[in-house]
Amino acid sequence: MTLPSDAPYDIAVIGAGVVGCAVFRDFSLSGLRVALLERGADILSGASKANSALLHTGFDAVPGSLESRLMQEGAARYRQIHAGMGLPLLPTGAVVVAWNEADAAALPGILQRGHANGVQDVRPMGVEELRAREPHLAPEARGAVWVPGESVIDAWSAPLGYALQGIAAGGRVLRNAGVRGGTRDAAGIWRLDTAAGPVAARIVVNCAGNQGDIIEAIARPSPFEIRPRKGQFVVLDKTAYRLATAIILPVPNERTKGVVISRTAFGNLLVGPTAEEQPDRERAATDTAALESLLAQGRRMIPALAQETVTTAYAGLRPATQFKDYQIEALPREGWISIGGIRSTGLTAALGISAHARRLYEAHFAALPAFEEPEGPVMPNLTEELPRLWQQPGREEIICHCEMVTRREIEAAFQGPLPAGDLGGLKRRSRCMMGRCQGFYCSRRVMEIAAPHLPDLVAPIGGAR
């Protein structure tokens, strides 16, 4: 099929977070011409770069909510496709631990809610079994609810894989293409004004995350208001990995799900998040006091964490709204699909949300051909669960010694149809500089490989100012 180059896309997806990547993927695989517009220099530049990397069961969602349904659908679809794409799934399970009497009194309700959400394998766990499973927990732990289906994944390779599948199916990813406005012409074609030039599309899907209500205002007064919620995390050294096997969840309260301890797919231990409302949509900053508080809370749950060192810390902004549930809606008259308020569960729900978006498209716009899951691509493995490149003969040099990243893996991040667009993108694709030394040993050599592709990072000494 040949189209004039200025022919409108069938769909423009605004925002290349995990949800946008999944929506881009599913519509592209449905045979539509899709553009994915990202204002950052790379995909995953907003909320999706900094989350807890958990694949939830939805056991603690509000039963009957759209979020609950789409989390389950999303997790189920991930489980179907992950092996074929070489994406990890660490079946850690989770324990919701009661630390005091009030917590213990809340456990039956948590169990009940899990069952109401259709997560039937949730069950109580007595204190002996809990101790046998998690021997490093503080002695105050007095029982738990066991959620076997909760898992850990690689939060960056999965959406990158979705985007690559969309590209392989004919879709186009435009980065540095922030949408500044748009109008709909008489023929019903959206004319979007982006930082990368005009983009025309029949239907717009708003997956703009923390910018969701601003983008929504292009189509209508936004019914939802983004109220960014910041979560700070501390990543502990790989030596801490052994201190927890399951995800350690607290009993949630009204405001927050509380501080979680979990393994990461990269072999670290993660403590977080905080939950802080802030007006700023851009600035995801950590602060020393909050990080110290997270560490203290972690040590209260696992005292041996006191001997562990911090590898890194980060903060992410979740696009919360005034509503508890997702804000997903098709606007047939506007040629628009809104996907807003995907707060902390977007990684889990992404493929459920994209399936839901397809259903909305079919219900309100046009029929789509039967959907077929593609073969591959097989993503480079960055996790400790599967064989890494450094373990293979012929690995050449290791550049990043902390994360055992080879030269070839760093070079590969700049190849293919969606090369790293900035240093964050390089790190997410390769893990280089993300280990315990944070670039002490590898910065120069990483820069040597990266400089031809990312010329703004370093200047030659004695070069022009």
């Binding site: 220099a41 990543v235 050294d237 790989k238 030596t239 052994r242 851009e282 600035r283 995801a284 900053a285 950590t286 602060d287 020393t288 909050a290 990080l291 110290e292 001997q307 060192t309 911090v310 590898t311 890194t312 810390a313 980060y314 450094w390 373990q391 293979q392 003969p393 012929g394 690995r395 050449e396 040099e397 290791i398 010694h401 902390c402 055992m404 900035d422 240093l423 315990r436 030394c437 944070q438 670039g439 002490f440 040993y441 590898c442 910065s443 120069r444 050599r445 820069m447 040597e448 400089a451 703004d456 990072l457 370093v458 200047a459 030659p460 000494i461 004695g462 070069g463 100012r465």
Partner: protein, 395 residues
Amino acid sequence: MAPTVIIGAGPAGLTAARALIAGGVTDVTILERNPEAGGLPRFCGHLGWGFFDYHRIWSGPRYARRLVEDARGATIRTNVSVTALGPGGVLEISTPQGRETLTPRAVLLAAGIRETSRAARLIGGTRPWGVVSTGAFQEMVYAGGQMPFRRPVVIGTELVSFSALLTARHAGIRPVAMIEEAARITARRPGDLFARHLLGVPVLTRTRLVSIEGTSRVDGVIVEENGVERRIDCDGVIVTGRFAPEAALLRGGPLALDPATGGPQIDCFYRTSDPAIFAAGNVLRPVEHSGQAAAEGAAAAAAMLRDHLPAPAEAIPVTPAGALRYAYPQHVFRDAGAITLYARASQAHRGTLRLKADGHTLVERRIDALPERRITLTIPEGALTQTGRLELELA
């Protein structure tokens, strides 16, 4: 015969190799994870190396080349990473050709050191590019000809922080300020005068870094002085000092560690809690200069060359007390001749350094301790007769 394996081809490892070969060991293998041997001095282009071991004043790369030359006879395997260190010194290694298991006669751990990262110090703010350690900065400048920024702020006032200033000057980089939380600089005076008058860099004491700002690249830092926060515009941050041994390989492994040094516990023969594994150089504790690391490499080699070392069961533990942050070796022996203990104070402290054996004083002297200054105390030969435990105290 199984080889003697040294982990790390820096000053300690290379000097140990030279001493082992001079002592008649024929099969010495040095494992180095980088493409070339020489260790961190390779990347420190200004003068100041070789004084203690070669009585010369060389640049770091010159010193590193000499160390490598003098270790000839040893097999240096580069691009080899040790992925596990097991009981008896059994090593799992990753090489370009694949993975191997080595069962050496003895192992010397000389894996060196690094600075504590911005993240590990829990410095808040955003995460833009332009925040680097001194080590990374020097390697970028001297080995890569790379300039990651033009107007950075330098965090810390240790000796290495001033080394960062010299490196900056070499590259034509003009630091806008040097920041120190304490009331005085950590390095010996007149480092601050040197910074201000020779390099034109203001040194801000009693000033705390609150956060690093910027989106893709650093555009400023927020600092606090006397409870007042203000912003300093800059395009980079050099996070200097607070060295920690590169000892992650040991964590969760068979060796006893010392939380105070961050390295393995050793006895006065540089032997770890596993008699087949020795350790020397900066992996033992937060940084000492390369001459000290090299001297320890030689001393460890001398111990490895001995036919007989006392049984670990007879070791006398040494613990730091008072204002001391750490002391090593952590174990000594009765009939081991004169033994030198090394220690550091946690802060500037004028007082009495005292070695106590089972509570009563063996040796004492007045000292004026600074955190940046190594403290040594020698136990005279024959002083440890019936001692069960030793305490090194700075009161």
